[in-house]
Structure formats: structure tokens, C-alpha cells
């Protein structure tokens, strides 16, 4: 364990607190750069989705985790980014231009959504963002001259510096990774700037922030705009990865998945967005594994514990039937969300911090270090 003695303000806001961070994140980056040449194409594809989801997760974290504005409408921002890219691509606009245009447009729309959101709090804000998402979904389905309606739009492979980058190539993965890394570094810088600290102040107490001279309205709109713009960038990559977009891809379900990303990862740190993205993307392969391999493994275990061949086969067929039940994915989603809220509100990153602290303090670790305080708030109506 390394003790950090902070002697001035610069120490407090440093991007990398000590050289250990540089080494470990450098190693991680090296592994990620080698990954496409080692992993199978399926896992590669999943890794690209992890990058995209993590980018959206970071965006949502700025809004929900750091400014305290819940949003269940981020699928709409993703859709706006994706459709901008698809539309501009039809007119042979180069990739960097429409990439930026998608971000700027989504950011502007995000700011527009932010204005009504100024007066709303808590549940009202959640409903307002859901309404916004529904309206966007319907516009995408109806504005056929631009979006091609329910038939959806094809998205060609992106062209970067005159080279066509197919959606399965390592280069596309590097583009996504670059966007993710830039987003994370940018957000870290944002969070240590006055803007970021204003965000956190608004989250912790709007009244206190206002009395400290923070322009609450301005920063809430800013937070919406930044969050939306990053989601728009992710939307461009999403469109290219899927190579086909249609309105029914950007439903409430997707918005909820994004919320799950930050909830399961942990809403207080950028690590959480990445961990949550890995989790949500990997749950599908895990279920496939459950369906294909688990019954055999269970039967094998049963056989080693002395069950007869017939009994083992019986167990195997029952396990297979269970694993191929229709709603299994939804049920597992539900259970996971509830369990995380009940038992691990700090998310996966919180779990990692606990494990780390346990080994750092080994004989002296106290479970109550991370105990949640019940707040028993008074009525929100008077807050």
C-alpha cells in the first residue's frame, strides 16, 4: 500500500496520482492493443460493443452519476447520433466531418432537452426523458424522407483517410477504443475542472451549490449537452458496427440497459462504466454458454457424485430445457438488478475497492467501512 501525501492543490487534482497508475493503465492499454490479434472474431465483436456501451456509460455517468440528473432517454441520443451519421453518409460526407456533426447535433438537442429538465426533479425528470425518447422514436419511424421509416437505413463501412474500414476489422476496433479512451480522459479532465466540480456540487445539494454561487441552470444544461454529445459520438460507431439501423433498435429497453451499465458498474467512478459495459455485453455469451454447455457439466457433476447414467441424462435434459426457456434472459436481468441494488449498491467497482482494501488493511478490515447510511429522507415534496 502506498501512502499519498498531498501537499498542495496540484496533488489533489492530478490525473495519475502516482506512477503505479501509469504502469497499470499502460499495461491494460497494451493488452487491449494486442487483443484483436489474439482473440476470436466473435469476442472481438463483443469487445467493440463493450467500447461503445462504455462510452455511453461514461456519458450517462456524467449526467446521472456526477450531476445527479437521472435519464431514461439516452437511447434517443444514441439514435440521433446514428441517424445523423447514416444520413450524412448518403451524401458522401467524410467520416471525421459527420462524426463531429453527429456529436454537435446531439449535443444541441441534449441542451434543448436540458432546458425543460431544469424545472423537473426526480421521478418527473425520469418521465420527461422517457417521453422525449418515445417522441424521438416515433419521429424516426415517421420522417420517412430522411430516416426511411420503419424499413431502416443501411450504413456503409466507414472510410478513414481513404481506406475503407470494415466493421469486423481490427482498425474499427481501434477507432472505437480511441473514442472510448479519449472520452474517459476528457471526462477525467472535465471532472477536475471547475465545471466538473460544479456538477458534483449540484448532485450533492442543489441548494448548497446555488448558495456557493454555482449557476445551477447553466451547469445542468451543460451536463445534458455534454452527455448527449458523447452519446452521439457513440451512436455513430454503433451505426457502423451494426451496419443497419431502424427505429425499433432504440427503445426504452436500450435506455434501461445503459442505466444498468452504470448501476452495475458503480455510479461513483468512471471504472464503473467500463465494468458495467463488460458485464452487460458479456451476459449474452454467458447465456449461450449456459444453454449449450451447462447441462452437460451439471450431468457430469451428478455422475461423479454417484448418480446413474439414466439419472444424469434426465438431469441433463431438464437443465437443457430450463436453459432454453423463453424469458430466461429477462428473468436473469431482473434478478441481477435487484440483487445489485440490495446487496452491492456501489456496483462492481465498489466490490473491487472492498477486496483491495481488505488486502491492504488485512487484519484490520472492517465491513462497516462501506456501510450505507440510511437517510430516511423527509418528503421530497418539501425538499
Amino acid at each position: 500500500m502506498r501512502f499519498l501525501f498531498k501537499t498542495d492543490y496540484e496533488d489533489d487534482i492530478r490525473l495519475f496520482p502516482h506512477s503505479g497508475y501509469v504502469v497499470s493503465y499502460g499495461l491494460l492499454l497494451a493488452v487491449l492493443l494486442i487483443a484483436p490479434y489474439v482473440l476470436s472474431s466473435y469476442l472481438m465483436s463483443q469487445l467493440v460493443f463493450v467500447c461503445i456501451y462504455a462510452t455511453v456509460g461514461v456519458a450517462l455517468l456524467i449526467l446521472t452519476g456526477f450531476t445527479g440528473q437521472a435519464s431514461l432517454g439516452h437511447a434517443a441520443f444514441l439514435a440521433i447520433g446514428a441517424y445523423t451519421a447514416a444520413y450524412l453518409q448518403k451524401y458522401n460526407v467524410p467520416f471525421p466531418v459527420y462524426f463531429l456533426a453527429a456529436g454537435v447535433l446531439t449535443g444541441c438537442i441534449g441542451a434543448l432537452v436540458g432546458f425543460p429538465a431544469l424545472r423537473l426533479q426526480g421521478i418527473y425528470l425520469v418521465i420527461a426523458t422517457i417521453s422525449f425518447a418515445f417522441i424521438v422514436e416515433e419521429i424516426l419511424a415517421r420522417w420517412e424522407s430522411v430516416t426511411n421509416g420503419n424499413e431502416g437505413m443501411r450504413v456503409k463501412a466507414l472510410t478513414l483517410l481513404g481506406v475503407t474500414v470494415s466493421r469486423d476489422s481490427p482498425t474499427f476496433y481501434f477507432v472505437c477504443l480511441a473514442v472510448l479512451v479519449l472520452t474517459i480522459v476528457g471526462t477525467l479532465n472535465l471532472l477536475r475542472s471547475p465545471t466538473g466540480r460544479a456538477f458534483v456540487a449540484i448532485r450533492d445539494s442543489e441548494t448548497a451549490a446555488r448558495s456557493m454561487g454555482v449557476n445551477v441552470a447553466l451547469y445542468k444544461v451543460k451536463s445534458f449537452a455534454i452527455s448527449a454529445a458523447i452519446t452521439g459520438f457513440a451512436g455513430v460507431l454503433f451505426a457502423h458496427k451494426l451496419s443497419f439501423i431502424s427505429p425499433e433498435m432504440f427503445t426504452l429497453q436500450l435506455s434501461i440497459e445503459f442505466i444498468i451499465v452504470i448501476l452495475i458498474g458503480g455510479t461513483f467512478s468512471l471504472h464503473g462504466a467500463v465494468l458495467g459495459a463488460i458485464f452487460i455485453v458479456m451476459i449474452d455469451p454467458f447465456l449461450t454458454y449456459l444453454k449449450d454447455d451447462m447441462p452437460g457439466i451439471i450431468a457430469g457433476i451428478a455422475a461423479t457424485f454417484g448418480a446413474g447414467t439414466a439419472a444424469a441424462e434426465n438431469i441433463q435434459s431438464k437443465a437443457a430445457a430450463f436453459a432454453s426457456l423463453n424469458g430466461l434472459k429477462g428473468a436473469i436481468y431482473g434478478i441481477i438488478i435487484v440483487l445489485f441494488v440490495l446487496f452491492e449498491p456501489l456496483g462492481l467497482y465498489g466490490r473491487w475497492l472492498k477486496i483491495k482494501l481488505f488486502f491492504q488493511l488485512f487484519p484490520l478490515y472492517k465491513r462497516s467501512t462501506f456501510k450505507r447510511q440510511k437517510i430516511y429522507v423527509k418528503s421530497e415534496r418539501n425538499r
Binding site: T64, I127, I135, T207, G330, I336, V338, V341, S379, R381
Partner: protein
């Protein structure tokens, strides 16, 4: 003109269904300031219980109805005990997420048990129609309207005139203070969940002849009931019903008079407009800020 009245009545009937679901939101919110995103799914489950009792076991309609309500009341208590009680007193966001998770779970499990087909319950009201001049009103729609009025009145009386209702309002104002004053807050919360699950069941059963029962009906209607509750001001019982009726009428008018596509969006457009002008909803209490 006749078209207009016909649309109005079917809009009101649809709106009463939204209002019934919204009543469930409001009940839970009024007593615990928890927003229950699984309310629609409780309704779906209630409908399936009733279908099991009436359609599969062949019980009398009213007996099956009562059985479903009782079973769902117990289920509501159980859900509260397992999912909500451990996190009562934590920020609202975590409770919203927990109920979203609960909704996911209920939807999927209902799909596993009853399959994904549409189900129908034979009710005593499914056949008849009421004719006033050339106006035709189906009995099942009228039954929804009547039931909404009755339930709303009962609940309003319960909240405003009984001791238990007062205890519920007190525990919503300030949970800790209510506890110190001798109100058994935990039991109050669990009763509230039982009542709201029972109300949801009524909605589900009354709805069965109109929209049928399938495992996603809760999500679809729950999302329409949200604007209803918000429009009426979360936490106001008459507001929920008025909001529901407004949403229903807007939806059915928009489906009839406006171009295709407006039907699904119009309620949300109206909702956003109302929230812009009156952030606490039409019947909401005016919020004062305290430091």
C-alpha cells in the same frame, strides 16, 4: 358529432384503465415516496391469476376475481418484504432500479409460466351493449368506468378519513418522525403494497376483455399510466384518475383526428407541455424548498 362522442367514451374507458394503474403508483408514492415501476407488471400478474382461476379452473367470475385480488395482495406484501423493505430509506434512484428489476423478473416469469399468447377472460360484461339513441356503448367499457369511480372514491375515503390512511400519509411526509410517533411504518408500507397490488389486479381483470392479457401488457400500459400519474401530480388520488382520463381521451382523439403516428406520441407531447408549465402536475402540491 356522434363519432366525437363515441371516441370520447372509448377514450374515457381507456383512460380509466390508465387511471386505475396510475392509482397504484399514487398509493405507493403517497405512502412511501417510492415510485413503483413494476406496477404495470403487477397488473399483468393479477390478470393472469384471474385467468387461472376463472378460465382454467372454471370458477365463478366473482369468486375468481376475489381470489385473484386476495392472492395478489399477498404477493404485493411478499414483493415489498423482499425487494423494497431492505432499501427503504435509501435514495429514490435505487428503489426505482429495484422495481424496474422486479418488473423485468415478473414479465419473464409470467412469460415462462403462461406462455406468450394472448388470453381472454369471459366476464359477465363481455357481451352486452347499451344503446342511447344511435350511440353504442359496450358494457365492458362502462364496467371499467364504474369500477374506477368506485375504487377511487373508496381509496380517497380511506386515505382521508381513516386512521390507517392518515398513518400512511404521515409516514410519507417524514418516515422517521412517523416511527417516533408510534406508527408501525414497516407494517404500513406492507399494507400499502398489498392494496396497490389489489388495485392493480382489479385493473387487470377489468381490462381483460378490452386489451387481452399477455406478458407484455404490463409494460405497455404501465408506460401509459406513468404520464397519467405525472399529469395528475404524483401523489394525488383524484389527480391520477383525471390524468388517466385525459391521457385516454387525448390518445383516442389523436388516433381518430390526427394523422397516423400521433396516437402513440400525443400523450407524451401533452405531458411534456404540462410539465414545462406546471412541473408538479395538474393536482400536485406546490413544492416549497427547505434548506
Amino acid at each position: 358529432m356522434l363519432d366525437f362522442v363515441q371516441q370520447l367514451v372509448s377514450g374515457i374507458a381507456l383512460g380509466c384503465v390508465y387511471g386505475l394503474i396510475a392509482l397504484g403508483f399514487v398509493l405507493v408514492y403517497k405512502a412511501t415516496e417510492v415510485v413503483n415501476f413494476a406496477q404495470g407488471d403487477l397488473m399483468m400478474l393479477g390478470g393472469f391469476f384471474a385467468f387461472t382461476f376463472i378460465g382454467m379452473m372454471g370458477l365463478n367470475y366473482w369468486v375468481g376475481f376475489a381470489g385473484a385480488v386476495a392472492a395478489m395482495a399477498l404477493f404485493g406484501m411478499l414483493a415489498e418484504r423482499i425487494v423494497v423493505r431492505p432499501i427503504l430509506g435509501y435514495p429514490q434512484f435505487s428503489i426505482i432500479m429495484a422495481t424496474i428489476g422486479l418488473g423485468y423478473f415478473l414479465r419473464s416469469v409470467a412469460g415462462m409460466i403462461w406462455g406468450t399468447d394472448d388470453f381472454k377472460i369471459e366476464t359477465p360484461f363481455s357481451q352486452g351493449v347499451l344503446r342511447i339513441g344511435s350511440l353504442v356503448l359496450a358494457h365492458d367499457k362502462l364496467s371499467v368506468i364504474a369500477a374506477t369511480i368506485i375504487l377511487c372514491t373508496l381509496l380517497w375515503l380511506f386515505f382521508n378519513k381513516t386512521t390507517l390512511g392518515t398513518a400512511m400519509r404521515a409516514s410519507s411526509e417524514n418516515m422517521l418522525a412517523a416511527y417516533y410517533m408510534g406508527i408501525p411504518v414497516k407494517r404500513v408500507v406492507s399494507i400499502v403494497w398489498a392494496i396497490s397490488a389489489a388495485v392493480a389486479t382489479c385493473a387487470g381483470v377489468l381490462l381483460a376483455p378490452i386489451t387481452f392479457i399477455h406478458s407484455n401488457v404490463g409494460l405497455v400500459l404501465g408506460l401509459k399510466a406513468f404520464p397519467a400519474a405525472v399529469l395528475g401530480g404524483f401523489g394525488s388520488i383524484p389527480g391520477a384518475v383525471v390524468g388517466g382520463v385525459l391521457i385516454g381521451v387525448i390518445e383516442s382523439m389523436a388516433g381518430f383526428y390526427l394523422p397516423e403516428g400521433w396516437k402513440d406520441v400525443a400523450p407524451y407531447v401533452v405531458l411534456l407541455a404540462v410539465l414545462l408549465l406546471k412541473p408538479e402536475g395538474l393536482f400536485g402540491l406546490h413544492a416549497r424548498k427547505k434548506v
